[in-house]
Amino acid sequence: MATPDISERPVAQREHSLFLLREMLRIRRFEEKAAEMYSLQKIHGFLHLYIGEEATGVGAMQAFTPEDSIVATYREHGHALARGMPARVLMAEMYGKATGCSHGHGGSMHFFDVSRRFYGGYAIVGGGMPVAVGLALADKMQNRRAITGCYFGDGAVAEGEFHESLNLAALWKLPVLFLCENNLYAMGTALERHEAQTDISRKAGAYGMPSSAVDGMDVLAVEAATQEAANFVRKGDGPYLLELRTYRFRAHSMSDPDLYRTKEEIESWKKRDPIPLFENKLKEQGLLSDSDIAGIESEVGLEIEDAVRFAEASPREPVEDLLKDVERRTEK
């Protein structure tokens, strides 16, 4: 898997590396703040943290242009941030405020931003996949060159919608890049306890679809693999399945006591935490100093603090508007 050749452009390489690191840190600090605000009862409902999986969200998102469409899951804070959504509209959404990206109608699991072609967080596992196929169908029928990135987890692979969607996309040669974030658990059920075939990337073969798997803790490897997969999809020969092998460090949700896996397993994965892994690599290459990290942390910290202030200060949607987004009147 070839990483972009940037050895001759050390400045660009350094800038891009710092950008990737900043994006991962935005997600990490955002999620930590979300957990804190949840325990302070500022955020309610379900909250599924992305901590540990930052490299998959950030690395893969680099392969998409603003014209492409993105479909994500209920664990989509990382995807939304990596797609460029401001932290403040996400925090406000979780606060249930009118300034939230979905006006407080969606909460943590349902972030949307049509201006960024971020078609949302889907909380029925696998439920976003047919929608992604349709977005790609619309692009193809209208001769747009865009592709659709469809994130889902290993749990979705057991759903019929996974198989129906892969089949339909392959049959009609649609420009979909299926991105399976395999964090080894479908909620609390381990991969080997829910899949007869645990090598998820091999499932694409049943649909004549090319696929590969990549270390989801290595942001550069994810970026390179996704770029290569996206290049394939952009050629118009059909979809691609890329499996991103990762791990979530936190429980499934804030209400999960995490009884189904051992502390040793979690600790062993934390040794491969994608953020220090990347920081150390950059330091070894002489691309990153401690003061760079401090600078990024400080910038990210300001964005997160601003997001909380914004969410706190924002108004709630008036109850009079309760029904206004249920339907629109006839167009013509």
Binding site: S69, G100, C101, S102, H103, G104, H105, G106, H110, F112, D113, V114, Y119, G120, Y122, I124, G127, M129, P130, V131, A132, V133, G134, L135, A136, L137, A138, D139, M141, Q142, G160, E161, E164, S165, N167, L168, L171, W172, K324, D325, V326, E327, R328, R329, T330, E331, K332
Partner: protein, 327 residues
């Protein structure tokens, strides 16, 4: 005005839409080369090609979901679901996505999807092809539910549905496909939101929709022979519901029979009954009567299926119960 069948009217409307709007396409099981399980789309593949008349694999969830995604992406998909029982396989996409995305996204998303679904019994297709579940759909905020009972509505409702910004479900009672009638194919707009007063009388209101309109009209003719004059209301659109036409009729007749091919318990007839009570309780001179299907999975044998479905005899009997005997 052009004379045609219900099936031809649906086809003519889709043909017009496919010609007029490059965003429109048809997708579903066997809609192309086979010509449609009920031959509704016969000939459209030859005229518009496989890009716009798409044979889908037997993946109701995927192709309904793909219709949702295509609608989000700027297309105007018409998705055909072969029977309403099969639509259960797509219920996740219909309820959790199609009906929900606009609101859940804070009004950012619009899903202009049209789903055409065959419904209803009477053809000895037994318990997995024959039920009337439109009422379940009418329960869901965010979608519109149309039930064309006439040839004119088969044509007009397809074209009207394609102008909506939100998902529209059109339930076509499968016994109606050979029905003949007149279509105003020069009309520019079609009202689909009002119930139709199909026959007027002063003694009782017979309220129905879709496949039972014909039986209700037969019953009304027989009642007239006995001196009982009935209003017959075709609801046409179950969501949003035009309850005003119903209430106005009940205010005149003071008696109502609701005819619904669904099972009685929790059916749309129960909703009609409740709304009459909420809006016109003081107008009623008798309890509201309902004629519905027997509470049994649809049997195959003809005599059993007939015993299951609402029939004109039962409608006549229910109306006679309510109306005081003359003379």
């Amino acid at each position: 005005m052009t004379k045609m069948t219900y099936r031809e009217a649906l086809r003519a409307a889709m043909r017009k839409a496919l010609k007029d709007d490059p965003r429109v396409f048809l997708m579903g099981e066997d809609v192309g080369r086979y010509g449609g399980a009920f031959a509704v789309s016969h000939g459209l593949l030859a005229e518009f090609g496989p890009e716009r008349v798409r044979d889908a694999p037997l993946s109701e969830s995927a192709f309904v979901g793909a219709g949702i995604g295509a609608a989000l992406g700027g297309m105007r998909p018409i998705v055909e679901i072969m029977t309403i029982n099969f639509s259960m396989l797509a219920m996740d996409q219909i309820l959790n996505n199609a009906a929900t995305l606009r609101h859940m996204s804070g009004g950012q998303l619009s899903v202009p999807l049209v789903c055409r679904v065959a419904t209803g019994g009477g053809r000895q297709m037994a318990a997995q092809h024959s039920h009337s579940l439109e009422g379940w759909y009418a329960h869901i905020p965010g979608i519109k539910v149309l039930t064309p009972a006439t040839v004119a509505d088969a044509y007009g409702m397809v074209l009207a549905a394609l102008r909506e910004a939100d998902p529209v479900f059109i339930f076509e009672h499968a016994t109606l496909y050979p029905l003949e009638g007149d279509v105003d194919d020069a009309a520019q707009s079609f009202d689909v939101t009002h119930a139709a007063m199909v026959r007027t009388g002063s003694d009782v209101s017979l309220i129905t929709y879709g496949g039972t309109l014909g039986k209700t009209m037969q019953a009304a003719a027989r009642l007239a022979d006995e001196g009982v004059q009935a209003d017959v209301i075709d609801l046409r659109c179950l969501r949003p519901l035009d309850i005003h036409t119903v209430v106005n009729s009940v205010a005149k007749t003071h008696r109502a029979v609701v005819i619904d091919e669904a099972w009685r318990t929790g059916s749309f007839s129960a909703e009609i009954s409740a709304q009459i009570m909420e809006n016109a309780f003081d107008e009623l001179d008798a309890p509201i009567a309902r004629v519905c299907s027997a509470e049994v999975p649809m049997p195959y044998a003809k005599h059993l299926e007939e015993a299951t479905l609402p029939q004109a005899d039962q409608i006549v009997a229910a109306a006679q119960e309510l109306v005081p005997r003359h003379g």
